[in-house]
């Protein structure tokens, strides 16, 4: 019986198929679990405007001022944290009711951009922008102007909407 080659071949095939199938059945759910968070929003930051202080803190015509953007609530997978820094923005008041805000995130690779009184400078790769946030050509590798952020005044308070854009592209697209 054991010597019948057909039967032996069938037994071998059956063992391989059954064994392989069992392996797949065991591994599949484990893999499913590991890839589950891939496209999920596991870290939830506020998409609505965030209060960054009173309008009074900005004087008309004063230079750019750096403000921290602090989310009231951030959900990160299993935890909920309050008052979490998201990043920083450069803001100025051009007229009584007119504001400008630029993201401090360098559009090249995301370093924090500084302001030296005349220009914006990125410390990582020397990209440079004018006082208005326009890219200074050939200074560094950044491909676009600094990213403006929506800012508005509500009841005498500054409300800034925090947006992250895709890095290292010439066009500005939300990440």
């Amino acid at each position: 019986m054991a010597d019948d080659p057909d039967r032996r071949g069938f037994l071998k095939a059956a063992t391989t198929v059954l064994g392989g199938g069992l392996g797949i059945v065991i591994v599949a759910p484990a893999l499913r679990v590991c890839v589950a968070p891939t496209n999920a929003q596991t870290v939830t930051t506020p998409t609505d405007p965030i209060d960054i202080g009173a309008l009074d803190r900005l004087k008309v015509g004063a230079p750019w001022q750096r403000v921290d953007v602090i989310a009231p609530v951030v959900k990160d997978a299993w935890t909920t944290a309050h008052d979490v820094p998201l990043g920083a923005a450069w803001v100025r008041r051009t007229a009584d009711q007119q504001l400008q805000a630029l993201s401090s995130v360098c559009p090249h690779l995301g370093c924090a951009v500084g302001f030296d009184g005349q220009n914006f400078l990125c410390p990582c790769h020397n990209s440079k922008w004018s006082d208005a946030g326009a890219l200074v050509a050939n200074a560094g590798p950044a491909l676009r102007d600094l990213d403006p952020l929506p800012i508005q005044i509500v009841d005498g308070r500054l409300r800034l909407t925090w947006v992250r854009y895709k890095l290292d592209t010439a066009a500005r697209e939300p990440a």
């Binding site: 054991a2 032996r8 037994l11 071998k12 059956a14 063992t15 059954l18 064994g19 199938g21 069992l22 059945v25 065991i26 591994v27 759910p29 484990a30 893999l31 499913r32 679990v33 590991c34 589950a36 968070p37 959900k75 990160d76 997978a77 299993w78 935890t79 909920t80 944290a81």
Partner: protein
């Protein structure tokens, strides 16, 4: 001595290599599948464990939260966790069967002692995985079960050192988790790989041990006829595990570990016999708990030494087989006694039910609100207005809840301070829901019912309602109410901000958050009830933040219905 050991080893290893490699005397049988089923379950543990380790965060603040996250929020997370947890039970069962079979077959006899001992070590390692894994979830069940286990270890000679090593210091904390985690995912798996490898290597060199009486028969290769049987057995075993995991919706998860809360800790079912033994041993429980494993282990390790002779037939080895089977029976009876003791305990069932309710609340809150970064225990504080409501529960309800038997003040509940409330108050200030239960309510100091037309009472109520700053106040009605107020009420009251009344309380900003905070701070202040005040002051008892939180809750109550109140959920 050294020479003798070397000779002993050489004799066995040479004997091994002379054996028919991988052959099975007498052909394949379903009786020989258990070893490979164990390997399959170890594989299941390794794979599911790797997946779970991609989520687990071993710290006291986050451990429970990360486990709850996998269990309740990751697709199939409950299934993988269930396989991992119940897979240990499967391993204990199949390893037990495997060892029992080896004992009945006498397969531990010379030259297979090494295979037997390595198998015993494997069983101990599986139990080690169970102990180190159970605490990682940092829920009430795992946390307290670990206290019991470490408590036993600590009563052994050198116990305090063992305890300190295990916990990483003097108390349960972050180091306890990181250390048990390191043992569970690094140290034990590494040792298991070595032991399983050695076990397989030695047993393969020997070839399978057939049932007694088949020794002389022609050997056939494992592949493919025995292998097919192995794989079929693996598939059936995995299917049973899967069915069980699905029926239980994975592993349980109790409420977050709480060092201050009592919990009926029960060890995992395969330690229940020890638990019962301690119970029976009374004041000798510590000795029993330590001695029992030593006795059982000694018996199993010693078998190859006492059961010598080459004959493996059961009939010739009745005392040894009886000893092993008897041991198993004793363990079985003790286990059943432990479970039936619990099953007959109505009070325990009630406590378990309460614990299960707490667990489901904690997990529902974790899904809805996330777990605060301050720790899993604080998940209970994520219910709406937790601070205010828990203060209200302990400090206010006795005197102000409609259900309270010894209520001493006005009822405070849904709709407190809305228009209907003011109208009812104005009509009968000393009625039961208002001043009726106060001492003042039945004296001449109490306010008399307002005798105005219903329309006028509505206007007056609007004026009082408007004091809170409610945005829906009707200005026309309020102004008419102010005219009535100036005629009828100003002898005792004022609605000007910060001005106390004559004999009665100042009503400016009545019902606003600031007014409530001020009132709670000191009801006997001149601007509030003055000498007529009966409520104690809370400015020392509660912080300003707490008083403000309660005030916020009272403002919320004004527009809340009983349904809104019920929707807040329990504290």
């Amino acid at each position: 001595m050294k020479v003798r050991i070397t000779e002993w080893m050489t004799e066995r290893v040479r004997a091994l290599s002379d054996q028919t490699r991988l052959g099975i005397p007498g052909g394949p049988s379903l009786a020989y599948v258990f070893g490979w089923v164990i390997v399959m379950f170890l594989g299941v543990e390794a794979i599911t464990g790797a997946a779970l380790s991609a989520f687990y965060a071993p710290s006291t603040a986050s451990a429970w939260a990360s486990v709850a996250y996998v269990q309740d929020q990751i697709p199939l997370g409950w299934f993988v966790r269930g396989l991992h947890y119940h897979g240990t039970s499967a391993l204990v069962i199949v390893t037990g069967i495997h060892l029992l079979q080896t004992a009945v077959y006498g397969a531990y006899k010379k030259p297979r002692e090494l295979v037997w001992w390595l198998g015993l070590i494997l069983l101990v390692l599986v139990l080690g995985f169970a102990i180190t894994g159970y605490v990682l979830r940092w829920d009430q069940a795992g946390y307290w079960a670990n206290h019991v286990e470490i408590g036993i270890a600590a009563s052994a000679p050198g116990g305090p050192t063992i305890k300190g090593l295990a916990l990483g210091g003097n108390e349960y904390g972050n180091l306890t988790l990181t250390r048990f985690y390191a043992l569970h995912v690094i140290a034990l798996p590494a040792i298991v790989v070595i032991v399983v490898g050695a076990h397989l290597w030695t047993s393969r060199l020997h070839g399978s041990t057939p049932r007694w009486g088949r020794d002389g028969l022609a050997a056939t290769k494992r592949w493919p006829r025995q292998t097919l049987r192995d794989v079929i057995a693996m598939a059936i075993a995995f299917a049973i595990l899967t069915g069980y995991v699905v029926s239980q919706h994975g592993a349980d998860l109790a409420a977050p570990a709480d060092p201050s809360a009592a919990y009926d800790a029960r060890p995992l079912w395969y330690f229940r016999w020890l638990f019962e033994l301690r119970h029976l041993a009374g004041s000798y429980e510590r000795i029993a708990a330590l001695a029992a494993p030593v006795v059982v282990g000694g018996l199993l390790i010693g078998l190859p030494f006492v059961d010598r002779g080459p004959d493996r037939s059961v009939k010739k080895r009745i005392p040894f087989v009886a000893a092993v089977v008897g041991l198993l029976l004793v363990i079985g009876v003790l286990t059943m006694r432990s479970f039936s003791r619990d099953a007959g305990d109505a009070a325990l069932a009630k406590r378990d039910e309460a614990a299960a309710l707490l667990a489901s609340r904690a997990r529902a809150l974790a899904v809805k609100n996330g777990v605060p970064i301050s720790g899993a225990q604080d998940v209970f504080k994520t219910v709406p207005m937790y601070t205010a409501r828990s203060i209200f529960e302990t400090k206010c309800k006795g005197c102000h809840d409609a259900q309270s038997k010894d209520r001493k003040g006005p009822i405070i509940g849904a709709g407190h301070g809305n228009r209907a409330w003011f109208e009812a108050f104005l009509r009968a200030p000393s009625s039961d829901p208002f001043w009726g239960r106060t001492k003042m309510g039945h004296t001449d100091d109490a306010m008399k019912p307002v005798e105005l037309t219903p329309a006028e009472i509505t206007d007056l109520a609007e004026l009082l309602y408007a004091q809170s700053g409610a945005s829906d106040a009707d200005a026309t009605k309020r102004d008419r109410g102010k005219a009535l107020f100036d005629k009828a009420c100003t002898d005792c009251h004022s609605v000007d901000e910060g001005v106390s009344g004559g004999g009665g309380p100042g009503l400016g900003q009545l019902g606003s958050r600031d007014w409530y905070t001020s009132f709670i701070s000191n009801p006997k202040a001149a601007i509030h009830m003055g000498k007529l005040g009966e409520m104690p002051r809370f400015d020392a008892d509660l912080t300003i933040t707490e008083r403000d939180a309660v005030a916020g809750y009272l403002v919320w109550l004004r527009t809340a219905s009983q349904a809104d109140l019920d929707k807040l959920g329990p504290l």
